[in-house]
């Protein structure tokens, strides 16, 4: 009996002390990462308006690493502006138009767009959760986040889906629309849905963006983006209006330099650009041009090279024209290669939308809608005179709308051959019913659409079909 009592006592004492230990120490389990390092709790990272601004800057930071050439190279590779790249397996398969779910260049390009979107979404979700945020800043940050979402969705849908107009209703599969930071599987929205979303985002951006905003997005950036979207949609009335608005009211000016990749100031033609900032020491530079420079210059051994016909066109009016000097050739044991000097500088800023782009949108749109052809001719001739230093290449004042369109298209190819625009133009032309063959393959063959990375696929998110180019 005595033993039993003891047993009971022992059990009670230990049971009780264990419970005590438990409840008393339960708070100890609240282990959180230190808040002094670079890895901090989300809650403590988002308290004030300036915290929110840092979140917004992080979205621009991703844009800057995406539009440094990394993204632009992907569409360019599928065009007729480049020959087979050297020593770059990923790029070769894009050029061969057979990239797969494992192509890390394609996958990274895709991912970066959505990381920027995630960061923009973080800003949008927390506008009301922070203190010390002025109404003006709130409006601006919100609009900037919408601009970033619009730009990234637009470029993602142009790269990873068949273009607007590929089907009459644009019900063909587009990309995922992401408007929240929640981790949920998203279906493939149709191209129509994505364009509609992009336009609503641009509207929201335009409503809140200021006309000047340091190196960041302005109302003019949003209008330029909208002009590009409308142009891509074959809505030439609107693209004409928007480009005309920018050219007549906007802050950018026509610049005498053919090469828009300038430093330390961005080209005065820019409506939006990626900035390589000089560090506070005044010496080092936060270089944001690697995607271009590492491939087109690469220490004098460029991996991205031009086809001979394009080179010849550049040199049409001589080696020493402003446009001609940007291109050169190498002869190694009879093996001749053609390269650009556009990206030779160590540092340069990268315009995303420029005055010249808008001139050419205006010109081509005018031709498409049979609008102000005279202005269109003047637009093209301004560009050609800058390129050749004379009127040797000018359109005649009597040029037809079709001649203007062809000239505008050629100038688009020659003015910005490596920013991806060539690809979008080929798709745009094809999707409006023209017979476009690109390096022996139709404009809409499967490989003329970039493949999604492997994990984007779910039962509700079919990958792009492969082969056929």
């Amino acid at each position: 009996m005595k033993i039993r009592n003891t047993t009971r006592k022992v059990l009670i004492v230990f049971g009780a002390s264990s419970l005590l230990l438990f409840s008393a120490c339960s708070d100890l389990l609240e282990q959180k990462p230190s808040t002094t390092g670079s890895n901090i709790l989300l809650a403590t990272s988002l308290e004030t308006g300036s915290d929110l601004r840092e979140y917004l800057v992080s979205a621009y930071d991703v844009l800057a690493n995406t539009y440094n050439g990394t993204y632009q190279n992907l569409p360019t590779l599928m065009t007729d502006n480049l020959v087979r790249p050297l020593n770059q397996d990923n790029y070769v398969s894009i050029w061969l138009r057979r990239s797969t779910i494992f192509n890390s260049s394609v996958g990274d390009g895709f991912k970066q767009h959505y990381i920027a979107i995630l960061r923009a979404n973080t800003v949008l979700e927390n506008l009301d959760n922070v203190t010390e945020l002025s109404p003006a800043d709130r409006t601006k940050y919100e609009a900037e986040a919408h601009f970033i979402r619009a730009l990234c969705h637009f470029d993602a849908v142009r790269g990873w889906a068949q273009p607007y107009g590929f089907t009459a209703s644009n019900s063909h599969p587009g990309i995922a629309i992401r408007t929240s930071t929640e981790i949920v599987n998203a279906p493939r929205s149709s191209v129509a849905e994505v364009y509609s979303f992009v336009l609503s985002e641009i509207a929201a951006a335009k409503a809140g963006l200021p006309d000047a905003n340091d190196v960041y997005a302005t109302r003019w950036s949003a209008i330029a983006l909208e002009a590009e979207v409308r142009f891509q949609q074959h809505e030439y009335d609107l693209s004409y209006q928007l480009s005309n608005q920018l050219l007549t009211e906007g802050p950018a000016i026509f610049d005498g330099e053919v090469n828009k990749y300038q430093f330390p100031q961005a080209s005065p033609e820019s409506y939006f650009y990626i900035y390589s900032a000089t560090r506070d020491d005044g010496v080092n530079v936060d270089s944001r041009n690697a995607g271009f420079r590492d491939n087109y210059f690469n220490g004098g051994n460029p991996r991205m090279l031009l086809p001979q016909d394009l080179y010849t066109t550049f040199k049409q009016y001589g080696d020493s024209t402003a446009r001609g000097v940007l291109y050169g050739s190498n002869d190694q044991d009879g093996n001749i290669t053609y390269f650009t000097r556009m990206f030779d500088a160590q540092f340069f800023n990268i315009p995303v939308f420029t005055y010249t782009q808008m001139l050419l949108i205006r010109a081509e749109s005018a031709a498409e809608i049979n609008g102000d052809i005279a202005t269109a001719i003047a637009d093209i001739n301004a560009i050609r005179e800058r390129a050749y230093g004379s009127n040797v290449g000018n359109l005649l004042a009597t040029a037809s709308a079709n001649e203007v369109k062809e000239a505008a298209r050629l100038e688009r190819r020659l003015e910005f051959p490596f920013n991806g625009q060539r690809f979008h133009d080929l798709k745009r032309m094809g999707s409006q019913g023209e017979n476009i063959i690109v390096r022996d393959a139709p404009w809409d063959c499967n490989g003329m659409v970039l493949q999604f990375p492997a994990v984007e696929a779910t039962d509700f998110f079919p990958l792009n079909p492969t082969g056929g180019c």
């Binding site: 901090i40 989300l42 494992f102 959505y114 973080t122």
Partner: protein, 1052 residues
């Protein structure tokens, strides 16, 4: 520690049955063990009376007032066979009766360490395998766990690669985890030790092995707890099994010593068959011409054809040699009635066959227990060990890996001629070649070592306030400091003579302080003679803190030679007053002007567990046993809503041989049935994953600071939970000459912790969630048979086999590509085992075109490799594993033969896709000789080409097809040894209790169909997911080593 307490208990028990006598005759005597040493604590009683005594420290007893006449003395002591002697007690005068007792080998094995205590083996209702310390040291292994291979049923040990100190992959009863660690919990003398393989990342293609600093010679035994009845008491951490390591304690009487030494040599089990210069040039030129080119192909590394033809570097020879091993270990043992001490010092220099690579362990241990009074025993142990891993690059990182890939045979080690750029001299003759891969340069111009300092300590106090109640308080402290030091000579960093980079010293340092305290109370409650209960209750707290501290130091001056060899430089920097806290390599670089230091990257990570547990054991008449255990754990790693988990288990056992109906069944000496059920968990995931996390950074876009969301919050993150049912039969035949056990188990794991790569468009790269479900079921069989037993010849066989079936039941709505498993090519596919190869089917080489023919998802032939055609194929986990050990003792000679085998697995030879695929910057294997060359050829490999598209590929690295999925079965002679035992002998004045000399060969013979290097593969891993999913993937992995060793053991 726990054993000490058992023995103390026996001693106490022995003393308590002393009785008082009224007779006048005394019986005295001394009791000895089989070696002639005196035995204290033996109970000696007169049969049929209550008279008796217990032997004192000198083994002497004195029974007073013994009844006159013929009496039978009964001697009993735990661990020894009960003995009797008949004496005649005269009416007057004393009688002397000495006795020798024999060890009861059966009894010795009967006590097994279980979680927080010991149990008699007969009473066990869970599944536990015991491996004796002697079996751990009989194989020179990089680390103790490697020696478990083939010795316990259901314990799969894949020894690390040929790299010194590399870690084995240990899996108990299959694998029930995907992203959380699938390794068992290692508990050393009561403390769950720091066992993170990724503290040092995957630097140099090697994961640090946190177990390598433990000296195998210090291990008394290892218990592998396999089912929930056994592991349930470890609750949240028992799901993948528990390995309890108990270090030696003092025993016997007085001092005794044990000295071991071993020397040996090692070579790789297999040598890579790479092309020589001539062969590679021929293949390369052929590919060039096949691609429609004319003339001579431009060669790599800026080599001219003339230079290439005059160079033939055998890079394999340049990276391997015969490794040398030596080890010395001295153990001291002291036992007295109250004090027991074990101490050891050890030194082990384990040189691998890779030039420059060795693991040197120096260790010290002291274990002591002291019985302060009959109620209080205090025990303490401490160990200090240092493991210095002299590192080399391996696999994808270089070294032999380069020799098997990018180091081409037409590359020289040194330039033969001056190399100019214009008029500038880039290289002089004798400079290291840098225009292509050069593993010799890399090895010789960098100094690299990882130093792990480890100290595992514990202190415990057992208090017996009343009879049969034992209260134990325990504190454990495990300290680990890991320094990975690299010094890159300026010459290494400067590619040409025009470059002026400085040398660089780098250190990655991690320090982990791991504390554990627990308190338990055990009460043996004998309700009646037949009904016995044992209660255990306890509470435990564990906390672990890791500080990671990467640093880099850069010298401002160009220095010839390595830093620590440059004494002049050291003199310059030995400035008084400058702290020398941090020493890269063996010498120090202070953070002073002229030296750049990046020292503000300290990060602290902390986790803890709070637990309460209880266990009740019930025994009826030594034949029916039941056990129930409960544990509640709280972990800092889970969401606030899910922080605590409850883990019950219940099990029963029935010893049929205790039943009367079995007494007539001859030859069945023991028969037990047992069955158990329980729920266990797994919490081995990175810290802080339940919280939403952000990263901050400065100097971002436009020089602005920025911050961003890096980890999404998951407040519902919780334990991975396994529910296990186990059924076992244990039997002994012919007086236990044959003992055998058979177990069946079924383990269902739910809430599987997955590190998911969500849709890329979420913007997140990964997050942790409880998603999946996994099933494991299997059978284990083990038999030990003394086949032959005569005085001068015995032959014993141990055989075990375990079959495991593993299946992923669910991974939620995610695709097979959604689980990030590092760099390997395995996936999670529902209906398939954890870690399935996911490959495009290779069909054949088209005899007409010489191109690869694949099969699409519908089985139609295609020449295009498309990932949409990948299917789940192959098994990275074997169906069956096991070992066969034969031991022969012929007089003083003994022969041991240990065989291990693995059946039903595949190996994916991931390097072969480059070595035998697109002709590229890699060297190739001689297998490429069987390539297609002209229409009609039936070849193993395609027509050689430099272009991916000629193989239907988009990337040479994506050449993942069944062409390189190989049969992974093997039977390996793990160890063959011949030894000779010298009995007690004298050498001069020295008296030796015994000695032995053993010659052994390890891994010297392997039977396999695998055509790669070695079928036993544990490669480098990126993370725990990779470790779970991608064993049996070979990627330039250094093959296992074969070693030949001579060992000497002296006991005195």
């Amino acid at each position: 520690m726990i054993k000490v307490y058992t023995k103390s208990c026996a001693l106490i028990f022995a003393f308590t049955i002393l009785c008082i006598s009224a007779y006048s005759q005394n019986i005295t005597g001394t009791v000895y063990d089989e070696n002639g040493a005196t035995l204290p604590g033996v109970t000696v009683r007169i049969q049929g009376t209550t008279k008796g005594d217990a032997t004192d420290l000198e083994g002497k007893f004195n029974i007073q007032n013994a009844p006159v006449g013929e009496q039978t003395l009964v001697y009993s002591f735990i661990g020894y066979l009960e003995a009797t002697s008949v004496i005649n007690v005269p009416a007057s005068g004393a009688v002397v009766s000495d006795k020798n007792m024999e060890v009861d080998s059966k009894m010795l094995q009967e006590y097994v360490v279980v979680g927080y205590g010991v149990q008699r083996k007969q009473e066990l209702t869970g599944s536990i395998s015991r491996v004796d310390g002697k079996q751990i040291t009989d194989i020179p292994a990089p680390s103790f766990e490697a020696a478990l291979q083939g010795k316990a049923a259901g314990v799969q040990v894949t020894q690390g690669s040929g790299l010194a100190g590399s870690a084995s992959v240990v899996r108990i009863r299959g694998i029930a985890s995907i992203s959380a660690s699938g390794d068992p919990l290692y508990v050393v003398d009561g403390i769950p030790i720091t066992q993170d393989y990724f503290l040092n990342g995957n630097r140099g293609a090697m994961n640090n092995n946190p177990l390598a600093t433990i000296n195998p010679n210090d291990i008394e035994d290892i218990q592998v707890l396999k089912d929930a009845a056994a592991t349930g008491i470890y609750g949240s951490r028992g799901a993948n099994g528990v390995i309890l390591v108990t270090t030696k304690t003092g025993s016997g009487k007085g001092w005794s010593f044990d000295f071991n030494t071993r020397i040996g040599v090692s070579v790789p089990t297999e040598r890579p068959n790479m092309l020589n210069s001539e062969e590679l040039l021929q293949i390369y030129q052929e590919a060039w011409e096949n691609d429609g080119n004319v003339g001579l192909a431009p060669l790599r590394g800026a080599r001219t054809w003339e230079q290439a033809r005059n160079t033939d570097t055998d890079w394999v020879d340049e990276t391997i040699h015969t490794g040398f091993k030596q080890s010395y270990n001295l153990g001291a043992n002291y036992g007295s009635k109250r004090l027991k001490v074990f101490s050891s010092i050890g030194y082990d220099d384990n040189g691998s066959y890779l030039i420059g690579n060795s693991y040197v362990r120096s260790s010290f241990r002291a274990n002591a227990s002291y019985e302060i009074s009959k109620k209080v025993t205090v025990s303490a142990s401490t160990s200090f060990s240092q493991g210095v891993n002299n590192r080399v690059d391996a696999a994808w990182s270089g070294g032999l890996g380069d020799a098997m890939s990018t180091a081409l045979p037409y590359f020289p080690i040194f330039y033969e001629d001056t190399v100019f750029s214009g008029t500038d001299i880039l290289h002089l003759p004798g400079d290291y070649f840098v225009d292509g891969s050069n593993p010799v340069r890399k090895r010789e111009l960098q100094e690299w070592r990882t130093t792990e300092f480890r100290s595992i300590n514990n202190l415990s106090l057992v208090y017996k306030p009343i009879d049969k109640l034992f209260v134990k308080v325990y504190a454990g402290y495990d300290y680990m400091n890991l320094k990975d030091d690299k010094f890159l000579d300026a010459q290494y960093r400067n590619v040409t003579r025009l470059d002026t980079l400085n040398s660089l010293a780098e250190r990655w340092e991690n320090t982990t302080n791991n504390y554990n305290v627990n308190a338990t109370a055990t009460y043996f409650h004998d309700i009646t003679e037949d009904h016995k209960l044992t209660y255990l209750v306890g509470g435990e707290y564990q906390q672990s803190e890791t500080v990671a501290n990467p640093r880099r130091f850069r010298q401002d001056e160009f220095v010839e030679g390595t830093f620590y060899d440059n004494n002049n430089l050291l003199d310059q920097i030995l400035i008084p007053g400058v702290p020398f806290a941090d020493r890269p390599l063996v010498d120090s670089i202070p953070a002073i002007a002229g030296y750049e230091s990046d020292d503000d990257n300290n990060t602290l990570e902390k986790y803890n567990f709070i637990s309460a547990f209880a266990r009740i054991n019930y025994a009826y008449k030594n034949k029916y046993y039941a056990q129930a255990s409960f544990r509640t754990d709280g972990s800092s790693r889970f969401g606030e809503n899910k922080r605590f988990g409850f883990f019950p288990s219940a099990s029963v056992g029935w010893v049929l041989t205790e039943e009367t109906f079995m007494t007539n069944i001859k030859n069945v000496s023991f028969l037990k049935l047992r069955s158990g059920w329980g729920i266990t968990g797994n919490a081995a995931i990175p810290n802080y994953q339940q919280y939403g996390l952000a990263q901050t950074a400065s100097n971002g876009y436009n020089n602005e600071d920025f911050r961003y969301l890096s980890v999404a919050a998951n407040p519902n993150l919780q334990w991975e939970t396994s529910s296990t049912v186990d059924f076992g039969i244990e039997a002994g035949f012919f007086e236990d000459r044959i003992t055998t056990s058979l177990s069946f188990y079924h383990k269902s794991t739910t809430n599987v912790l997955l590190n998911i790569t969500p849709q890329v468009s979420t913007g997140f790269q990964g997050f942790w969630d409880n998603v999946g479900e996994i099933k494991n079921q299997g059978i284990e069989f083990q038999v030990t048979s003394v086949n032959f037993s005569k005085k001068n010849f015995t032959w014993k066989t141990d055989f075990n086999i375990a079959y495991n079936y593993n299946e992923i039941v669910s991974i939620g709505s995610y695709s097979p590509d959604a689980i990030s498993g590092g760099t390997n090519d395995t996936r999670v596919v529902v209906g398939k085992p954890v870690g399935t190869n996911f490959l495009v089917q290779f069909s054949h080489i088209d005899p007409e075109t010489g191109r690869n023919v694949y099969l699409d998802i519908n089985g139609n032939e295609t020449m295009e490799w498309d990932p949409a055609n990948r299917i789940a194929v192959g098994r990275v986990l074997p169906k069956a594993i096991g070992g066969i050990t034969n031991t022969f003792v012929i007089g003083n000679w003994n022969i041991g033969l240990v065989l291990v085998y693995s059946l039903g697995s595949n190996i994916y030879d991931s390097s072969a896709k480059r070595q035998l695929g697109v002709v590229s910057e890699w060297n190739m294997r001689t297998d490429i000789f069987d390539r297609w060359r002209q229409p009609g050829d039936e070849a193993d490999y395609a027509q050689v080409s430099l272009l991916n598209e000629n193989y239907g590929l988009d990337d040479a690295f994506n050449n993942n097809t069944t062409q390189f999925l190989k049969d992974g079965d093997y039977l390996r002679v793990r160890r063959l040894s011949v030894g000779y035992n010298f009995p007690k002998f004298k050498m001069g004045a020295a008296q030796f209790q015994g000695a032995s000399v053993t010659l052994s060969a390890v891994n010297f013979l392997t039977f396999t169909n695998f055509d790669g290097l070695d079928p036993e593969i544990a490669r480098d891993f990126e993370n725990a997911t990779d470790r779970n999913m991608s064993p049996n993937i070979s990627y330039l992995t250094p093959p296992q080593e074969m070693s030949f060793n001579l060992a000497l053991n002296l006991r005195f």
